[in-house]
């Protein structure tokens, strides 16, 4: 069924967005564009270069003495002034926004420097000295469960912070009775939707009222407002949250700004001045928030015809170093939907949540969906492959039947509406599936590598605030009291001139909420949307809001727009009575159209909307008895269907359930391993469509993220916890060259549970597309198992039958040293116009070294064979100051020497060893040959292999050039090594 928008309605039309004029002309106001109080300080954060270490000492004296610095905040200060953030499971563990006694991931905040401008704050941050005792790290969730694994939080006794088992129906019997047991074993990687605008916070503290006012590009209040207020030890009404008018994308990620709201609040309190912090990209990649990675074993009991009678899930969820609110929501958001689009009566689930030495996780587009649909839809393909069935038939035979809606899933979700079979049939017919199969046949006949993938998914939206409590046992829930619902709120107001404003706390981050709300309210009141003004950012001190308010779980169209409709309807009903009085007729005769209110029976009998609407301001005495006021209507709406989890752990985790069926054809270049998406078709049922172009925009945007997740993106960590995706040159985001244009189809079945019939549509392709592409690649290369991201090197490995490689492009990464290190090795040689003896002397002379070491601020002799240096080094975007300590060993004057060095700076650390050999090549010239092996860690190590190797070569080259010049010119070739301790070691 397709609902054609009637010509007299605004909803359903792709009207231009009211947001765009400001965004296109540079007038939009993002957080870093807003004016601040003149005494505002800028913050720079000192972060851990180590994945796991005890903090022995934080020395802030040098930083405090630096120009412009007003205060330095450490973990001790934060501990003193706040309390640990609420953790979502019952566990003996604390959760702080800054390291207190121990760091547990690379990038964890250790200190905050507050200065009069950002440059000064960053300079001083480099002077904060931190002594670490490095601990072994664990990054793999399965390894983290092992007996030998280092334990992140000693109070927990292990890295397993929560485990629950669930059983629905009778899975044991179903497995025993089924002729086939088919399973998949999946490691779903970490990735992040990385908005182009990073985090920002401006915090004020008023000691007189013990009140915080925090501006942040956060996306709520959401339940997180309560977490922040509790942590800051103030009542909710002393924690005023505001958001800027514009926010540069989020896709869930900006939820993770909240620990910084706490930190900057404390910083403002300590400094006695407002504090502003704008995150940089390197901080964002290393330490904002990522999706969870998950290890999943999924098995199905399968009949001969491919029908599934039971599923057995075993999920190990990796939430990183801390279980930060709202986690473990990623794991439980899908709990009602563990059977996907299928009617499967028997389900068992074992959920384990582990902590590892990686960045804490949080919201990310698709939130839990990709981690579930990847195993589930890989399983569907595996069933088809094993039983030699058509994969379309395997999907079709298992779909929830069209006459079964609303349908209760085994785990408790109430699927609101759908016609999955028809939607699938239409996608196959209108999307050209048969032609694609032909294409594959032709391609294969020509020897090309071509495959087809499918995926079906149910896209949940409007989260039940109670789903997260499914992590508690029924007894624990009993004690804690029920949680449920999804309060949405909207206000429609009339001013004394009779114009209409809408206010919601939906906090859009580019989705165009204001445009849609103007359409919805214009329809209800017979106005032009251009005449309706909309505010969608939030001020918790002034606005109507509740715990579910904000921008997440695709709740805008179904919930917030619906609440706005209800508020406008309520106002319209009252205005009918007022107008009936003015027009001498009855309320039922009243119609709203074209900015006027008229009698239906006699349309000439009319009055302007504003005249009727303003009456409550100018002449309240004239309102009819039944009307109190027509100035402002605020509606709170929460659907009854969102009940708390019941005693059997059944949970309707979301209100609405869209349906998606995707298929695609991919071709793989067998020589490079590159994947080209030849055709992608995506069929959506998102209920009633409010704004077709915006729905397409959501589908395309989600699709592009999913292409990245499938082929490119991974937050990669070394085995030692080093972060290896630290810049946008390492964490590859798809560009226009990698994202094809999908064919988008719709099959609308309006939701019976939402005021407008709409369902969410923002996240579906992040759930369906990664696995659809993976299925196509597996089909193309006939692989049983494939792991995302399917980079060219990984695909080449699969074609060659090798074990998949960790990451592309091939890099010189060897698991190294104790913690957070990346190995660099190299060798080279140069010739200089000096004798061996002269070169030897130069290498042992602090003055010469000072002159020739790039970026040196002075070399000090500690003994004849021991030097200390201060150097500034830059690797790509990471520039910093380091202290280097260099010792000479195995001296064989004037033939050879070994250097061993260590460097440490705010941005990282390094250590290494190199051997230099001097050979006389006649005419007073010497050939200097060197080999080195060094490890670097911390922020510098996160900039990635290509940059790092390149920078090492450049610095070593500079050193040699300088040495040659010093010796009297004539150097050739590459660089040298003394440097490299300092250089490679420290900044390489």
């Amino acid at each position: 069924m397709t609902i054609n928008p009637s010509a007299d309605r605004w909803v359903g039309r792709s009207v231009p967005r009211v947001e765009d004029a400001a965004l296109l002309t540079g007038r939009a106001r993002f957080i870093d564009d807003l004016p601040t109080a003149t005494n505002t300080l800028d913050a720079a954060i000192v972060r851990s270069p180590h994945a796991h270490a005890e903090i022995r000492r934080v020395d802030v004296d040098a930083a405090l003495a630096s120009e412009g610095v007003v205060a330095v905040v450490t973990g001790d200060d934060v501990k003193r002034l706040t309390r640990s953030m609420t953790v979502g499971v019952k566990a003996n563990v604390e959760c702080w926004p800054i390291a207190t006694d121990r760091v547990r991931y690379v990038g964890e905040p250790v200190a905050i420097v507050l200065a009069t401008d950002r440059y000064l704050a960053e300079d001083a941050a480099e002077r904060v000295g931190v002594d670490y005792d490095i601990l072994p790290a664990v990054v793999d969730p399965v390894a983290a469960l092992g007996d030998e694994a280092p334990v992140l939080h000693p109070s927990l006794g292990s890295n397993l912070i929560n485990e629950r088992r669930f059983s629905y129906g009778d899975p044991d019997n179903a497995f025993a009775a089924a002729p086939h047991r088919i399973g998949v074993d999946i490691a779903y990687p970490r990735n992040s939707c990385t908005p182009i605008e990073t985090y920002g916070v401006v915090a004020h503290y008023d000691p007189g009222e013990d009140a915080y006012e925090i501006l942040a590009n956060f996306q709520g209040p959401f339940s997180i407002h309560a977490v922040v207020a509790r942590a800051l030890k103030v009542p909710g009404n002393r924690m005023r949250l505001k958001t800027p008018p514009s926010s540069g994308g989020s896709y869930g990620i900006k939820q993770g700004v909240f620990p910084y709201m706490i930190l900057m609040g404390v910083a403002a309190r300590i400094a006695g001045r407002p504090v502003k912090w704008i995150e940089d990209r390197i901080e964002h990649l290393a330490a904002s928030v990522s999706a969870t990675n998950r290890a999943t074993k999924l098995e199905a009991a399968v009949e001969a015809d491919g029908r599934i009678t039971a599923l057995a899930w075993d999920q190990i969820e990796d939430c990183g170093a801390h279980l930060r609110a709202p986690e473990p929501a990623t794991l439980y958001r899908m709990h009602g939907n563990m059977t996907g689009a299928y009617a499967i009566a028997n389900v068992s689930i074992r959920n384990r949540i582990v902590l590892t030495n990686k960045t804490p996780t949080g919201l990310n587009r698709g939130f839990g969906g990709p981690q579930v649909y990847y195993p589930l839809e890989r399983l569907m393909q595996t069933i088809a492959r094993t039983l030699k069935l058509d994969p379309i038939e395997v999907i079709r035979r298992n779909l929830v039947p069209s006459d079964a809606f609303p349908y209760r899933t085994a785990t408790g979700a109430l699927l609101d509406s759908g016609d999955y079979g028809t939607a699938l049939g239409r996608a196959i017919a209108e999307g050209g599936y048969a032609a694609l199969v032909e294409r594959r046949k032709t391609a294969r006949a020509e020897g090309r590598v071509y495959g087809i993938g499918l995926a079906a998914a149910v896209e949940p939206s409007v989260s039940n605030m109670g789903y997260i409590t499914t992590v508690l046992t029924p007894e624990e829930r009993e004690k804690a009291g029920p949680k449920n619902g999804a309060q949405a709120t909207a206000t429609v107001a009339v001013d004394p001139l009779g114009s209409v404003s809408v206010k919601v706390a939906s906090v859009p981050q580019g989705q165009g909420h204001r445009t849609v709300l103007a359409q919805v309210v214009a329809d209800a009141l017979g106005l032009d949307p251009g005449s309706v003004s909309v505010i969608a950012d939030v001020d918790t001190g002034r606005d109507a809001w509740s715990i579910a308010s904000g921008n997440y779980s695709s709740r805008f169209a179904p919930a917030v727009a619906g609440a706005a409709k209800l508020a406008a309807d309520r106002l319209r009903e009252k205005l009918k009575h007022v107008a009936a009085g003015q027009l001498n007729t009855v309320p039922d005769d009243i119609a709203f159209e074209g900015g006027r209110i008229a009698s239906r029976a006699n349309p000439d009998n009319s009055v302007s909307f504003s005249r009727v609407a303003a009456a409550a301001h100018w002449a309240p005495g004239t309102l009819p008895e039944v009307v109190d006021q027509t100035i402002r209507e605020t509606v709170f709406w929460t659907p009854d269907e969102l009940a708390a989890p019941n005693a059997d752990d059944e949970i309707n985790s979301s209100l609405c359930h869209g349906f998606i069926f995707d298929f695609c054809g991919v071709e793989i270049d067998a020589s490079t391993g590159e994947t080209r998406i030849d055709r992608y078709v995506t069929m959506h049922d998102c209920g009633t469509i409010l704004h077709p172009a915006m729905v397409e925009g959501q589908v395309r945007g989600g699709f592009a993220h999913a292409v990245g997740a499938a082929l490119l993106e991974e937050y990669a960590y070394g085995a030692d916890g080093s972060f290896q995706s630290g810049t946008l040159a390492d964490y590859l985001i798809p560009t226009v060259m990698e994202v094809p244009e999908p064919v988008i189809l719709h099959h609308e079945t309006p939701s019976p549970f939402t005021p407008l019939g709409a369902k969410g549509v923002g996240e579906g392709n992040c759930m369906s597309t990664p696995v659809c592409i993976a299925n196509a690649i597996a089909d193309a290369i006939d692989a049983e198992s494939v792991t995302l991201p399917l980079t060219p090197s990984k695909i080449l490995g699969l074609i060659a039958g090798e074990e998949p490689q960790a990451k592309n492009p091939p890099r010189k990464i060897e698991p190294a040293g104790p913690s957070g290190q990346r190995k660099l090795t190299g060798e080279g040689a140069a010739e200089v116009a000096a004798t061996r003896e002269e070169v030897w002397k130069m290498l042992l002379d602090p003055q010469t070294l000072d002159a020739i070491i790039p970026g040196s601020h002075g070399v000090r002799r500690i003994s004849d064979t021991h030097f200390a240096a201060d150097v500034t080094l830059g690797v790509g975007p990471v520039k910093g100051r380091y202290k280097a300590d260099i010792e000479l060993f195995d001296l064989d004057e004037p033939n050879a020497v070994t250097l061993r060095g260590k460097t440490v700076g705010a941005l990282g650390f390094g250590e290494g060893e190199g051997r230099i050999t001097l050979t006389d090549i006649g005419s007073g010239r010497t050939r200097i040959a060197y080999t080195y092996e060094a490890g670097v860690g911390g922020k510098v190590a996160s900039v990635g292999g290509r940059l790092l190797d390149g920078a090492a070569r450049v610095v070593i080259g500079q050193f040699f050039k300088a040495l040659a010049n010093h010796a009297g010119g004539g150097a050739s070739g590459a660089g040298f090594l003394a440097r490299l301790k300092a250089l490679v070691g420290g900044g390489s």
């Binding site: 792709s14 231009p16 967005r17 947001e19 765009d20 004029a21 965004l23 296109l24 002309t25 540079g26 007038r27 939009a28 106001r29 993002f30 870093d32 564009d33 440059y119 939707c193 990385t194 908005p195 182009i196 605008e197 990073t198 514009s246 926010s247 540069g248 994308g249 896709y251 940089d280 990209r281 390197i282 981050q509 580019g510 989705q511 165009g512 172009a693 915006m694 397409e696 925009g697 395309r700 945007g701 699709f703 592009a704 993220h705 810049t727 946008l728 040159a729 985001i733 560009t735 226009v736 060259m737 994202v739 244009e741 790509g876 975007p877």
Partner: protein, 142 residues
Amino acid sequence: MLLTDLIRHAVGATGTHVGCEHGVCGACTVQIDGEPVRACLTLAAQAEKLDIRTVEGLEPRPGELSPLQAAFREHFALQCGFCTAGILMSLDALFARKPKASEREIREQLSGHLCRCTGYAPIVKAALAAQAHVREEKTTDA
């Protein structure tokens, strides 16, 4: 001082955005003497005496969008708009240099920009539409 800081915080033209400060995302793109340049990789001193044009300079008159800006609105080529200023400056420079740039050239120019919201297809459409419009205008003028 970086050119981005000069433009945004000293001059106060905040329409130019910073997304990475390491030259990859393209959000900070401005025109220096007509050439698209990453302001985050440029020192303010390097731009001395040169002509800098930012997104604030694209509107023909306040409240009126240029054909390129209008095409972006018409084709829903932006969502959050954080990447948009850089993309507009880049395309504007391309069309000034090459009014008949092919779709391939447009895509190549766009490949220096990251957009996380739109999936790019509407941006390509908007660019092609704007280019057609500008060409038409040129023909009518002539």
